[in-house]
Structure formats: structure tokens, C-alpha cells
Symmetry: C2
Subunit: 121 residues, 2 copies
């Protein structure tokens, strides 16, 4: 396996659907995913997995049960397992996600936006 | 444990030493670290750990046994376990690392730059 450089802009350009993450890399049982956020996603939690959101471009909000956290490009948040959260973005935002390969985007909440196999970008 | 926003610029501002990574987050047994690169680091490999380099600011090079990969801001590389590599930067560069909590910065090569406990920023 030969290491290959990954350019985030090139990968984001391949994403045509909001809230539909694509995998760009795997390491140590974890996956690095990219997603475009726009609008309001489902409230959900991941029972066994911590999830990291790193904003690459734009602004997002992560709703928690007691408050909302705003994140701009260059800011990140780790949502520990078991914490209910709701990602949201007024305008299109580009986000990198780190999480176990097993993580489902909608966690415990199955919906029309659940992506069972995100696939590689 | 209440999730707190992490601003990368604020965290980088706390780093005063090149090649001395600091931890900014933990999830799923992995750590997210930040480091400032300048100059040439030791050739090393990690026997059991894959390592990810994401350039936040500046340019770096990762030397591999057969070639060198150049990375700019917004570009990343996953170096699989067992692959010899040498990070390098002509000018100061800001890099995010994603790797298991057990990963030693110099891998199998102990040197004066080995950081056994990087600590939290």
C-alpha cells in the first residue's frame, strides 16, 4: 500500500449531496470522512462511538441538549459517545469527520438520510 | 464530560517548540495532536500504528523510501504502519496529527526529539 496525498478541495468537489459523508481515508480502525452540511440534520447519538467534527470551510452549529456550539473553519468539536446532538448549517459548510469505521451518520436514529455504506470519494 | 469547542489557531499559539506535539483531543482510543514543523525530523516508522498528517498552514514534505510527498494546507497523508518516513518543512508549518494514544513521535527511533508524554495543549 503506497501512501497517496489527499487534497480536501478535490474530494469535496466530488460530493453532490448534503449530509451524505464520503470516506477519504482509514487508519487504526477509524475513518476520515468529508461531508457537506446545509440545513438541519436529525437529532441523534452514537452509543459506542465518539465523533469529531472539524470545519474546513463555512460555519456550522452543533445542537446539544443544553446549548448550541457554533464552529467556524479551523474549529472542531468532539462529541463523546452517548451525547445527543444535531448538526446544522445555514449556508453550505465543508466538514471533516473522524470516527470509527462502524459509525452510522444518523447514529441511533434511522431516517431517509441514514447512509449505511458511505463509500470512498 | 461537556463537549468544548477547540480553536486550532488558539492551540497552535501555545506551541513554542518545533516537533513537540501537543494533544488537543481524544476519541475512540485515538489522539488528535498539533505540531509545528520546521527543519528536518528523524527518519522513523511506527510498527503498529497508522499516522495521519493534515497540513493546516504552510507546506511540509514527507520523505518515503522511494519518493517525497509535498503537502500544502488542506492536504493530508496517511502513513500506514511499518512505513519509514521523514517529515520536513523549510518554513514553519502547522500540522494536525491523528494517531493512537500510544504513538511516539519518533516511532522506532529514539532521539533527543522523542516526546514520551506530549501533554494536552
Amino acid at each position: 500500500m503506497t501512501p497517496q496525498k489527499i487534497n480536501l478541495s478535490d474530494k469535496f468537489a466530488r460530493i453532490s449531496q448534503y449530509w451524505h459523508p464520503g470516506v477519504i481515508g482509514e487508519l487504526n480502525g477509524q475513518q476520515v470522512k468529508l461531508a457537506k452540511f446545509k440545513g438541519r440534520f436529525d437529532w441523534h447519538q452514537h452509543e459506542e462511538e465518539d465523533e469529531m467534527f472539524l470545519v474546513i470551510d463555512g460555519k456550522i452549529r452543533i445542537g446539544l441538549s443544553d446549548r448550541t456550539i457554533e464552529l467556524e473553519a479551523g474549529e472542531m468539536l468532539i462529541v463523546p459517545r452517548g451525547i445527543l446532538h444535531q448538526p446544522e448549517a445555514e449556508e453550505e459548510a465543508h466538514v471533516m469527520l473522524f470516527e470509527p469505521a462502524s459509525t452510522l451518520n444518523t447514529g441511533n436514529t434511522k431516517s431517509g438520510r441514514t447512509v449505511k455504506d458511505p463509500g470512498f470519494l
